[in-house]
Subunit: 299 residues, 2 copies
């Protein structure tokens, strides 16, 4: 069973692009040709799914990782969850690495039930990586890590999130001199120690926001075997130069998520078709990110 | 719009029982008369739903709060999520206060999408309270608190969880002398300050494990307007005497979840029918818990 970190590294290498295309697909993002005929959840979700399929088919030579944010599907109830499940299935069928951004968290058998849903081949939401929240400690992580090892899947654990108020907890100084996010980084490194692939990275990764360049650079050194999932690029304010510290000198170790900047690219360039506009933005983003870490490597 | 904390207090007072019946319904828990005819997810989920309905109809004079753990439904994929949604709907229709135990967490518009799914009347998983995880700070809480205020719903924020490894993060001492869970308690009190009902409690509650009697007693004093959702009773090891500190002197301020001890009661007393066995355990639990806090009040 191939390690998920190795499969991820291969997928990124195949297109030279460490971007994860964020399928946070919303009704207001849909290009005109995918516009719903009415505002029922059923119809909106059918259009979202039709768009996701066209996007996945049209971007495969430029991007090989997708992150699907479940909240934008869950808000539509059962039709939304059906579209979420189908989007994950389709992405994997088309050869993408599919990250389910669900931030699941619970303990023991309950965490095991979540892990089965996302990380087992027969799970209803079977994906390559799932995001998890570490507030409950190892009891909430181990059931995921176990199935990740068994089935060649992986997980990303929240460490230093991109949003401003993340600091309320994550940047609190501890009595031992670390900050809370540094404690979490150390725990995540430990939890992932048994799942390091031949690429040098573990199937247990960390979510580290692009909006904190100094902290992400320090975390890259602190957790050398932990791959990063990096949110916050584009619409949340971070640019390629802010990301250099997330990568290792070979350009490995991170995948950068962009959602709105890709999904809404067609709104900014109405002179292009929706897919051309999205592709142009993906190319621009690839150059922006890889220029950032090539520069980082040169310094 | 009545405050959710007031609705909760009324529901508990109506039956004199601060128990939340945990519908973590699993295939292995089902009484013989609800046994699936085959092992397909569709059939298992249909049986789980049929059992949940019979349980909700048969327990209404003894219990008025239910907590539905989504993980045990999500593990069955779409048929499971359908049963989850229907269980929440049915519980509310029958007059129960329904807590969706989902531990959702995200930021901004994404958290807003979750909040809409759970706390708006038209949401696909509309419930009275939803559990949330505070690792991302206020950005992950405010969208829920806003809809809670708008629609008379509520949320429970993880503070001190019942599981052993919760201490890895939650009990870390901070440089300012507090522990991480005490910091979270202070934040939760603050976040809930605008949503205090006439019962004196807020619609923004806290999850505080029954397995930590000293800590829960101290938290009761530290956050006098925050209602507690207390897991860990029964199968996880805590008994009524451990819970006294979670309640105020009037027996208010907490709802105690029990899942396996109720759902599996019929396996321990095969001489009774499944509903009779569950009812007997609910009566025993009510006496155990209320004796605990009556004793607490006397001391």
């Amino acid at each position: 069973m191939q390690n998920a970190a190795d499969r991820l590294a291969s997928a990124i290498a195949a297109v030279g692009n460490p971007t994860a295309m964020g399928l946070d697909t919303q009704r207001g993002h849909l290009p005109a040709e995918f516009a719903p005929r009415d505002e029922s959840a059923q119809e909106i979700c059918a259009c979202i799914l039709r768009y996701n399929r066209a996007l996945l088919e049209g971007m495969h030579d430029l991007v090989r990782v997708v992150k699907v944010q479940v909240a934008y599907y869950e808000m539509y109830g059962l039709p939304g969850i059906t579209a979420f499940s189908e989007t994950l299935r389709l992405a994997r069928e088309l050869g993408y690495i599919a990250i389910a951004d669900c931030k699941r968290n619970d303990i023991g058998a309950t965490a095991g039930a979540y892990a089965k849903a996302y990380l087992s081949p027969e799970g209803g939401f079977s994906c390559d990586f799932v995001t998890v929240n570490p507030y409950l400690g190892a009891d909430g992580i181990k059931p995921f890590a176990e199935l990740a090892g068994e089935y060649g899947r992986g997980l990303y654990v929240l460490v230093k999130t991109s949003n401003p108020s993340g600091v309320e907890l994550q940047d609190q100084p501890l009595a031992d001199g670390r900050k809370v996010y540094e404690l979490m980084a150390d725990l995540v490194s430990h939890w992932g120690g048994g799942l390091i692939g031949s690429c040098g990275y573990s199937a247990v990764g960390a979510v580290v926001g692009a909006t904190w360049p100094a902290e992400s650079t320090a975390l890259r050194a602190r957790m050398p075997h932990t791959p990063f999932l990096v949110p916050g690029y584009g619409a949340q304010g971070a640019a390629g130069k802010d990301l250099a510290g997330c990568f290792d000198p070979n350009g490995g170790g991170a995948v950068v998520n962009a959602s709105r900047s890709l999904l809404c690219a067609h709104q900014k360039r109405p002179e292009l078709g929706w897919l051309e506009a999205t592709r142009a933005e993906a190319v621009r983003m690839r150059e922006d990110i890889t220029a950032g870490f090539r520069k980082g490597a040169d310094e």
